[in-house]
Each structure stands twice: as C-alpha cells, then as structure tokens.
Amino acid sequence: MSPETPSGQIAPRSAVKRRQVLKGLAGGVAIFAWPTPGLALPEDATRAIQALFGDRPLQEGRVVVELPKLSENGYSVAMAIDVDSPMTENDHVSRIAVFAEENPLPDVVRFELGPRAGRASIKTRIRLGASQRIRAVAQMNDGSLWTSYAFTVVTLAACVVQG
C-alpha cells in the first residue's frame, strides 16, 4: 500500500448538478451527514474522480469512511476507510482513492491494494480546508466501483477564514 502523490489543479469552483456528474449514483447514504439541501458535488472533485475512474458508474455501498464529527482546524484529521471485501485472489479491492470535495486539491490520496493486503482497511491523517464531505471510491478487481462518504465539520480559528 503506498499513497501516490496527489495531483490536481486549482480552478474556480462552480457547483454542478449532482446527477449530471455521477450517473448511477444511488441515493446517498451518509455515515453521518447532516442534512444539506441542494448538495452538489463540486466541479473539481468531479473532475478528479473522472480523471481516475472515467465515466464508470459509482455504486453506493461496501465502503465505510470514518472521520471525527468535529475537526479542530483541519490540519491533521484522522480518517479510517474500510471496504467490505474478502480480499482473495478472485475478489479483492485493487484501489482506494479519497476525494475531499472542498479542498483546493480534491484528489487527496490513493492506495493500491492486492489480495496480500489481507484487509481493505486504511487509517491515515488528511488535511482539510473546510467543513466538507470526504468521499472514498474503491475499485474492485472486476473493475466495479463502490463509494461512500463522511462529513466532518472543521471548526477553524475563524478570525479571517469565515466570510
């Protein structure tokens, strides 16, 4: 398992309609999302996901993303990802990618896995620029894509960051 260097580009953000972006994404089942009406996936995050996985459909499920409900300032946020997989030669997770929808560089980290990883379970710390959804996409060895997300509130020292 080795994280690759994330790449990305800063671009002005304009939200696009969620259904335009993630065809086939079943109704979102958050681990602990607070109701956020009009939730849309920002363009950068969409582009980052498409760059990695193309237009293949994402299916909701099999992935569990855990983040603290509150993060002190987003500098170093503990994250755990578990994917439901037997991790055998015939049925395993081959890749997990993490996208922070509101980060300037949404493509946070990617992990390459194989059956010898034993478990599709990852713990690490990531950096978050704002309160946001963190989406994990797991690619199985049959090419299918599974996804889920968690929401965390970054409480930040707010003297300048808030609008």
Binding site: P68, L70, L156, A158, Q162
Partner: protein, 730 residues
C-alpha cells in the same frame, strides 16, 4: 489564587442551573441524547411557567456583548418581555448530539452577530409562531387572528389573552414553521435599542464564573512550562528532585501539536494547590534541547523581513491599471518603509482549563472562543469517542483571538488522563501566557506612490513583507501558496468571497498590492483586528504622506479616491466634521479610514507633544455597521477598541533574544493607563441593509490616525511601532 469559595461539583452544577445563568451545566439532561427539556419551545428558547424566557447563546462571551445582542435579536422576533429574559450556553456536545442545531460556536472575526443574526432571528420567530399557534388551538380560533407582544398573546376579535409561560409546553408540540418572515429592522423595539447587558449585574455581584475561578472538591492543580525556545524539545527532567516538595503529586511531560510544527513540548507539575505546583515547576531541573532557533533574535526577524521588500516574487492581493507606466511618467515619487512587530494578546486571565477524565468520559470546563474546537481537542486528546466528551464554557477574561486555539485543552486533558476521576485545573502562569502566545504576525511594508504635476495620485505600490498566519496554522487555507488574509483591508474586490469584507477603501487607477511571505520561527495567531491593523498603518500613513507631498489636504486627498465608496466617504466625513477638521484652532489632527469585517470605519485623532511626550487628547471614531443591534454596546466596543489599539501602538512589542521571548509580564508588556486614555467619541451611524462587524474594525484606525496627527503636531513621521522608544521631540 482566587477568592471564590470551594464548592462541590454537584453544588456547582445545581447552583448554576437553578440560577439559570452562568455556566449552563445541567441545563439539559446530559448524555448522548441531550434531549429537549419540557419547557423548550425550540432550540433557541425555553419558557418557564412563570414566563421567564431563557435564550440559548451558542457564541462565547468575552466582554464584547455578543450575548446580549444575540438575545435581543431572538427576543425581538419572539415578542417576549425583555425584562424576563435570561440566557444559557448550550454545550458543544449537545450541539453535536442535536445535529448542530445551534450551528457555529466560533466567536471571532467580529462575526458573532453578523454570522448568526439570520438564523437566531428565525429561531425567535419560529418560537413565536408556535406559541401563538398553541394559544389559538386552545381557544379554537385562527392563529392569524392572534398576536404577541411582551410575552402576552392576544386574540384580537375577542380580546382574550394568555401568556407565553402558559402555552410553552403545548407550543413545543406545534408544527415547526418552515418559512418565517423576519421583521424589518426599522420596526424593531428590543433589538436596535441600547438595552442593558444581561451579564453586568451578575459580573458585579461575582455570580458569574470565569475559568480561573473554577474549583471542584478534590481538584488538583497544574502549572506548565513549555520549551523556552519555539521548535525546541524537552530532553529530560529530574522529578525526584522535587518529589518531596509540599503537595507535589506528579510531574509529566506534555506535548501538543499546532499547525506546522509550532506546538508545545514541555513539563507540567500537578500538586494540591497551584502555588505549590508552580513553585515545584520552577525548582524542577529540566534539560531542554533548544533546537534550530536557539540563537534566533530580533536582528534575524528584521533581516528576513527586509529581504522581502524588494524581492522579485510576491503574491498579488490587489491590482489595477499599469503601475509601472504610472511610475515612469511620475512628476514626483514618494517612498516609505514601515514596520510592525509581533504582539501578544495579553488577556487579563491567562490560559486555563479544567478537565475530568474517566475511563468512559471526558469533560472540560474552560474559557474558549470556540466551544466546538475545544470539544474536538478534548476528544482527540482523550482518545474517547466525541459523544463521550463535552465542554462547558465559562466566560472569558479576555479573548482577543487567543482563545480560538485550544492548545490548553489538549494540555489539560493530557494531564487529567493521568488522574482518572480527579478534576485537574491547568492554570498557565502570566509568564507562560506572555512567552508562549500566538503572536500578531510581524511584517514590514514598502510603499511607493507617483504624483502628477497637479498633485494627483497616479500609481501606488504596496509591498508587504512578512509573516503569514495561515501558513503556520492553517496551511490548507492558502490559495496557490498565497495567504489572502495578509491583504485584509487592502484586498481587491472579488478576489475571494471570504475577503470581500476587507476590501480596499480606495479606487486607484494604477495599483499593485503584493506580499512577499517571510516566516520567522515565531508562532503567529489571530489577534483582534488581525492583518487589517498593520495594513491600515501602512496604507493610511502613506496616504497622509502622499497628501502632504502633493500639498493637498489629507481629507480631500482621500475623498478623491472614494467616489465609488460613498459609505466609506460618509464615515470619514463624519469624523472630520465632528472633530473640527480644517478649523484654524491650532490643534494637530490625523485621519484614518478602513473597510474591515464588513463595516466602514474612520477615526480622527487630536494629539499634542509636551516635553517630547505624546498626549492623545481626543479620538472621534465613526462606524457604519449597517445594522446596529445594540448602539450602546457598539459605542462601548469602539471605545474599548482604542484602549487595545492604542496600547498596541504605544507599547505592544514581543522581542527575541537567544530564541526566547523577552517580555514576561505586564511590566515589560504594558497596556496604556487610564491617564493616557483619550476621550473617545463614538459615532454609530448604521446605514441599513447589511450587518457589519464591530469588535475589531476600529482597532485598525487607532494607530494611523494618531501617527498622522503626530506628524501634524511635529512634522515627524513615525513609521514603526510601538512608539515607546520613539524620539518625539520636534
């Protein structure tokens, strides 16, 4: 250390709850559910059968009056009897358990009222609709025929009345209104008025509790000492050497991380009294590794900052036209270099927090500007699920931005983990607080301006060189490496949504404002007014210099560039008129203006220099914050901001020698004294249509107005603060 009587924890909780004020411990049943009490109409309002209205306040109170202002906004829409209003703090744990029904707890950026006014008013309005709905249902009449005022509900056609307290329980079962229409501020009768603060009487009687006052039965006290040099490490300590000192219970290494490696690495001693803990800590043999900054001094800061003044690479924060072309065709060029030092928050009450950690629970009592950030810190430090943690806020003995960082919560929880079941109060010494702060960032600036033959300003370059707060504390908020917050007060409109509240006051035809980031190994932080303060000194002093070089009146010179900023021009004109600007009375006056934290502000200072000493006689300060929620509090905030802003200008300076901060207490880091304080005349002139901040904006105009007046008095231009060492003899 305090004169508060020792009380048991249970007494304390019950007492605070019964009084309905102070710490809101036990206000709601604690535990994972944080269920609503029977008298809760909605999250913002509880109404008892005796018609006492308790309004919930999520933001922190540190003297700024937000508590009263927020209560006024809720009460206005609720139409309750203001004389029966009291308040309580919900805990961040309750907020989390109730899906953040009270939203943001952070109290900074002059954002307490303006950031939450919409939803707290909606909360008050929703509660009113539910109360009226309950009364109408009981009467079998239409709610549209009923109205509420002063906690009394009246059915118009029949004249029947009831009170809020009688229908509160039924009201909670009413459907929650989805779309509420808020009152126009012009019709306000409770908000917008100079109501007395809700907390003054309880402060005067000593009823309100600050963090430093807290005492619990069986509590142990801790004093802490961080490595004297930032970036250094604790190597070892000899606990045996102090183990027989009176009252000593334990010596622990305590480490916290903050942002990019600017955390703490120190030692705490726990004893049965604070003085014993602190005495033992001072006697403790400690070996430090001072690390890479062991020889760091002020000369290094100056060298570093100077290296950015003409550097080729810099981040742009504002630009227009062609500055180089304007400079090339200039009739006259003006150039100046300015400097502002690191400054300490120096709150009256040094950092402290009290924690009780058991195997399955972590509770913290502390003064904090951000209850949720403190809760996140408690969860992280305890290692417990956040649902098992909570934070009980006390009032703050000064915040000024310092108490937005929960480093002391990490520390106290780390210590309390070693004493399961025993409450631990960590109290920093004044010296620790002074020497290990999150200091106002230090910067320099080089400004160049071109004037044409008519004395008109044709081009301006403002180069800021120096420290970035975000790079140190929140590097993920940098944009392509740039810290846009360093441009507060001079930023280009539209550059960033969060910076539009600090956009430049002037319209210059040819302009460049840029920042060469230079970060010394000093931990920076958000300090009341943040980066607006130094940018105001730089720009507003230089505008004065340009006006004099052009032979123009500084007021007229400014107004010539404010045609597109009528509200900014209005506050500037207001202070000029009130202060007698331009009158031939021999008085030396100076002006400054800014748009910051969403408000338009200006100041005119009147000074004399007597025997080489500065005497500030009078300040006239105007604020257009759009909507005034409590005009008396705004006036008080503006007056207070000059105590803080002028203290910083006169005395505020943190210096370094051998990597260590040289100022350790109020004798080396003074505030201004009563005798030095000028008369402050605050003009509150809300123009309507928006909500601007109040706690910070006028700080920024304090120093430049005085510096410009000082020039008028003496012909000497002071370009570096603090003034304490400046030679003011004409």
């Amino acid at each position: 250390m305090t004169n508060s009587a020792t009380i048991t924890r249970r007494q304390f909780i019950v007492g605070a709850s019964a009084a309905g004020i102070g710490l809101s411990l036990g206000v709601l049943p604690r535990g994972a559910s944080a269920a609503a009490g029977p008298d809760e109409v909605n999250a913002w309002v509880r109404i008892a059968t005796d018609d006492t209205v308790t309004i919930r306040i999520a933001r922190s109170e540190m003297g700024q009056g937000t508590l009263t202002g927020l209560a006024q906004l809720v009460a206005e829409e609720l139409e309750c009897d203001w004389n029966r209003v009291t308040w309580e703090f919900p805990t961040p744990g309750q907020n989390l358990a109730r899906e953040r029904v009270w939203k943001d707890f952070s109290t900074g950026g002059s954002n307490g009222l303006r950031g939450s006014q919409q939803y707290v008013r909606e909360g008050g309005a929703a509660a009113r609709i539910m109360l009226i709905g309950a009364a109408a249902e009981a009467w079998g009449v239409s709610a549209s025929e009923c109205s509420a005022r002063d906690s009394v509900i009246t059915h118009g056609p029949s004249g029947r009345t009831t009170t809020f307290g009688k229908v509160a329980v039924a009201a909670a079962r009413q459907p929650v209104p989805q779309n509420v229409t808020l009152k126009d501020p012009s019709t306000w009768h409770t908000a917008g008025k100079p109501k007395m603060r809700l907390d003054t009487q309880d402060k005067l009687t000593g009823k309100l509790v600050y963090g430093a006052d807290l005492r619990f039965d069986g509590m142990l006290l801790a004093s802490i000492m961080d490595c004297p040099v930032k970036g250094g490490k604790l190597v070892s300590f000899d606990a045996d050497a102090i183990k027989d000192m009176p009252g000593v219970k334990k010596v622990l290494a305590v480490k916290t991380s903050v942002g990019t490696g600017l955390g703490t690495d120190g030692v705490a001693v726990v004893a049965d009294t604070w003085w014993r803990a602190h005495s033992a800590l001072k006697a403790l043999p400690i070996e430090w590794d001072f690390g890479p900054n062991a020889n760091f001094s002020d000369a290094d800061v100056t060298r570093l900052l100077e290296s950015g003044l003409d550097a080729d690479e810099a981040f742009r924060g504002n630009w227009a036209g062609d500055m180089d072309a304007a400079f090339a065709s200039a009739e006259q060029m003006v150039e100046s270099v300015y400097k502002c030092p690191s400054q300490s928050h120096a709150p009256m009450e040094p950092m402290n927090a009290t924690a009780l950690v058991t195997a399955d629970k972590c509770e913290v009592w502390c003064p904090t500007q951000n209850g949720e950030s403190a809760l996140a810190a408690a969860a992280e430090a305890s290692g417990l699920p956040i649902e098992k943690c909570d934070v009980h806020k006390t009032l703050l003995g000064g915040g000024f931005g310092r108490r937005g960082a929960p480093d002391y919560v990490h520390q106290v929880v780390a210590i309390a983990k070693a004493f399961p079941g025993t409450p631990i109060k960590l109290q920093w010494s004044r010296e620790e607080d002074q020497k290990h702060g999150f200091y106002h960032p230090t910067t320099m600036a080089k400004l160049r301006g071109s004037l044409d033959a008519d004395g008109k300003l044709t081009g301006l370059h403002m180069r800021i060189s120096g420290q970035s707060i975000l790079a140190a504390l929140i590097p993920q908020a940098l944009v392509n490496g740039a810290d846009l917050a360093t441009f507060q007060g001079v930023v280009k409109p539209g550059l960033s949504p969060s910076m539009d509240q600090h956009q430049i006051s002037y319209d210059f035809p040819n302009l460049l404002v840029d920042h060469a980031m230079r970060n010394p190994p000093i931990r920076p932080g958000f300090w009341r007014g943040v980066n607006v303060n130094q940018n105001a000194i730089y720009l507003e002093s230089f505008m004065d210099e340009l006006a004099h070089a052009a032979g123009r009146d500084p007021l007229e010179f400014r107004l010539a560039h404010m045609e597109k900023n009528p509200k900014g021009a209005a506050v500037l004109k207001a202070v000029a008129e009130r202060s007698g600007w331009g009158s031939e009375d021999g008085k030396a006056r100076g002006l400054a203006t800014m748009y910051a934290f969403g408000s338009y502000v200006a100041a005119c200072a009147e000074v004399r220099v007597v025997d080489g000493k500065l005497k500030i006689d009078r300040i006239v300060a105007a604020t257009d914050c759009g909507t005034a929620v409590n005009p008396q509090q705004i006036q008080a905030q503006v007056e207070g901001s000059f105590v803080y802003g002028l203290s910083a200008m006169l005395y505020g300076e943190i210096t370094y020698k051998d990597g260590q901060v040289q100022q350790d207490n109020f004798h080396t880091y003074p505030s201004m004294r009563i005798a030095e304080m000028p008369l402050v005349e605050a003009i509150v002139m809300p123009s309507g249509g928006f909500f601007g901040g109040v706690g910070e904006p006028t700080i920024a105009v304090a120093a430049p107005a005085v510096l410009n007046a000082l020039f008028a008095a003496t012909g000497k231009r002071i370009r570096s603060i603090p003034l304490k060492d400046a030679d003011l003899t004409a």
